[in-house]
Amino acid sequence: MNRWIWPDSRPARYVRCAGALVLVAALVGGLLLLREHRRESELAGACGGVFGVPEARALLGDGPYGEDAVSGRTTGDLDGRGASLRSSCTVEGLHDVTLSASVDGVPARGHRHDLDGMYPKVPGDLPAQPLGHGWNGLFSSGESLRGSPGGELVTAVLLDCRAKKDDLLVTVRAEPDRDDGAAPVDDPRERTRYARVATAAAAHADDHWGCGARTGKTPRDGDIALPVGAYDDVPLDDAKGTCAGIPGRGRSAARAWESARGRPGAASPLETCVLGTTEPTAAVAYRFEALYGPYAQAARADHAENDYTDRRKNPATAAAGRLHDGGHWASATCPGSRERALFTVRPPYRDPLRHEDRRSAAQRTKDRAWERAALKSFAQHSARTHTCTHLHLP
């Protein structure tokens, strides 16, 4: 009978040995699974799960990320009554990559309290590309014409939530710190990885806050447009994107830095065209911007706050006009937003105390006439892409 309980034959010992091995394997497997689960929940639990786990892990590494790696806070909500939603989350991952996501409610026009600086800025001064894939969004590498080689990748998505809800602006910023010298924007697969974090976050935010917007698709591998760099200028006459149709302005504005235009339903909420020269060094002559939704709101809030010189007429108070420090603005009504789109043209800022304006009165009049004509062309093209109407021009 004892032999049945604890048999001592050779096969029995093999069976015992195998059993023990299976047990150990199961234990190790279980521990690994537990660790995996904890790693996943580290991301899935971060800031209400704003980051999609597979998308974020593709950039941050598998973890664990450390005790203080995740930080974030959420205030307000999306129902349009109280304070508007402000949610931000940052994860410091492995490989020196930091991802941060901001989900911001875009309140209807009229609630313009402290909006200046409330939405994440898109860094750099060169045009961002439309995100495409059915999203109303942009992809930027934060590059500038002179000086800044970029380094911060920003993907922003604007969600047009159903009635009685504020719209949602989802911005994902990444600060990769590569030591191999390759710009992360340069690798098409890597661009897609960064953009996917943002589209996953947007889909999550749409669901989490009951926005009910039409969302786009997950970007296909290698299918995110390359952001515009300092050396990606084309002759203005050859412009086919955001600078197309702008009349010529002589040698000082002969080169154009432009992004693709996007399509109705998959355009960018922030379109830019930069005109300038590369002779003898790169210099900006004019900067055109088409600002939609939150970006228009933030710009108007900025004017309302800072335009001391002419409080009666500025983009916050009038539909079109001449900017007091040079340039002009126009506006249009766009579907799905109570905030009018804002179109601006500006020469680069010059400190009047240091750099005297030596132009003659006739020259200034001529310059302004060109600015108005150029802004008209720029705004008309952009408004058409965004199916906006009632364009007011200066």
């Binding site: 004892n2 604890w6 003898p280």
Partner: protein
């Protein structure tokens, strides 16, 4: 009831354990066969039993030793194979990476033994439908072997130069600094190509090659006509500031192979660089004469009489750039307590190099009018660029622009004084005027010299752009007039 159950359990336990106890526990170690033998000996003589026990002990020891030895051998073999496997596998990976363009055999000494390498590659020459600024970008990376210092990784990048030379290597692609004297490319190149191989400040062998693609390179917003190739990898001897002959060969041959592959793929319409004959006598003579105009005596420069003047510079003609300089560590005496000229330099940059050079200098405030531009930082701002002069004495540069064989060209001629004692930069008006005259005379001579670069490059339509001094202007600094 509990007691009954207990006694029953004891009985069962006792009967099960008794035989095991008599076998002194060896059974469990030796197994069934041993147990049977032990039972047999238990019935025989005591002496023989003792002998058997001793024999069993010996066998046990032998077996344990054998097992330990086997385990050790296995471990050692695994470690050895592991080591061997990593190196072989790593070399194989590098050979397969980047369409076979990396010199796996030449890079064998720098590949890791203790870790496996990972490769990453992209670029429009690999995947034309996926936008990238690179035609080819390959990175091989690994965890460095257990060394406190040293670098790891191999990087190869080919890209169309979009208006400027990409900053692949700060030591080779910075146009404000002349290339180190030991940065020869090591292979013959045509006059519209330029190459260099050196060791950078991080202890890496870096190669840079720029060549023309008349047919135009695709993949960017507009067709481009200059191809830049950069390659870097760790050097084998980290104490040497120069690459070894083998490293130079590996670097330049790889750069040439990549160049030939891409120019063929992109239909540039150029002949391959590989297998070019060495420069002939006429070509060598042309190179040797490039800086002969920089004769201090003919230029009537102070200090030129000194034997310490050493002219240096290009020995090979390139349509892209030119560099000549002469200097001395013992500046001649201009005045009773003023140092004379310490150095004279002349540089030209054509085509894509022109904008790169001008921008690099402009960023340091070292081009005419740079300090008056609206976007140049105010004096006192933290980000005001340091003057190019550094610890040397004041330097005055004169810039000019022409159109030469290599396209639009900037020329920069500079004269510098030795470090005055005690304070630099205190120039009298006469001394300042003298510097202006010196630099102008030097520029004229440079542009006019028959064997010089400018005449060789058929420069024309020259336009003077102005002076750029690298010391603070008079109104921001105390200027003495004596």
């Amino acid at each position: 009831m509990a007691t009954t159950r207990g006694s029953r359990a004891t009985g069962a336990d006792g009967s099960a354990h008794t035989p095991a106890t008599t076998r002194t526990g060896t059974t469990r170690l030796r197994g069934t066969a041993g147990g049977a033998r032990a039972r047999k000996t238990a019935g025989g003589a005591t002496r023989s039993a003792t002998g058997t026990r001793r024999a069993a002990h010996t066998r046990r020891t032998a077996r344990a030793t054998a097992t330990a030895a086997l385990a050790l051998a296995l471990l050692a073999a695994t470690a050895a194979c592991d080591d061997e496997d990593h190196r072989a596998a790593n070399e194989k990976r590098v050979a397969h990476a980047c369409r076979g363009l990396l010199p796996a055999a030449g890079l064998r000494p720098v590949l890791p033994r203790e870790s496996t390498v990972t490769t990453r590659e992209f670029g429009t020459s690999l995947t034309p439908d996926r936008a990238s600024r690179a035609l080819l970008d390959c990175t091989v990376s690994w965890e460095p072997d257990r060394k406190p210092f040293g670098t790891s990784g191999i990087r190869l990048r080919a890209e169309a130069a979009p208006g400027r030379i990409p900053r692949f290597s700060k030591d080779l692609d910075d146009q404000t600094e002349p290339r180190p004297a030991h940065a020869a490319f090591g292979l013959p190149l045509p006059s519209d190509a330029e190459g260099a191989v050196t060791v950078d400040s991080d202890g890496r062998v870096v190669a840079s090659l720029t060549l023309s693609c008349p047919g135009g390179l695709t993949g960017r917003t507009r067709p481009l006509h200059d191809l830049h190739i950069g390659l870097d990898f760790p050097q084998t001897d980290e104490t040497d500031y120069r690459p070894t002959a083998a490293e130079r060969r590996t670097a330049s041959r790889t750069a040439v192979r990549v160049a030939d592959r891409i120019t063929a793929q992109q239909h540039c319409g150029t002949r391959p660089l590989a297998g070019r004959p060495a420069p002939d006598k006429a070509e060598r003579a042309r190179g040797a004469a490039l800086c002969s105009w920089l004769d201090a005596k003919k230029l009537r420069l102070d200090g030129g009489a000194s034997d310490a003047w050493r002219p240096e510079g290009d020995t090979r003609y390139s349509r892209r750039t030119a560099h000549c300089s002469a200097g001395t560590d013992e500046p001649g005496i201009r005045d009773r307590d003023r140092p004379g000229l310490a150095h004279v330099t002349a540089d030209s940059w054509s085509g894509v190099h022109a904008r790169t050079a001008y921008e690099d200098h402009a960023d340091k405030g070292a081009v005419p009018g740079a300090r008056d531009r609206p976007d140049f930082p105010e004096p006192g701002d933290e980000d005001i660029p340091e003057s190019a002069g550094g610890d040397d004495g004041p330097e005055l540069a004169l810039w000019a622009r022409s159109v030469c064989d290599g396209g639009r060209t900037y020329h920069r001629v500079a004269v510098g004084l030795g470090t005055p004692d005690p304070a630099p930069g205190h120039l009298t008006k006469e001394e300042r005027a003298q510097l202006s005259a010196d630099v102008r005379r030097t520029l004229d001579r440079y542009l006019d010299a028959r064997a010089g670069w400018a005449r060789q490059s058929h420069c024309h339509g020259t336009e003077l752009l102005g002076e750029a001094q690298d010391w603070a202007p008079a109104d921001r600094r105390k200027e003495t007039s004596r």
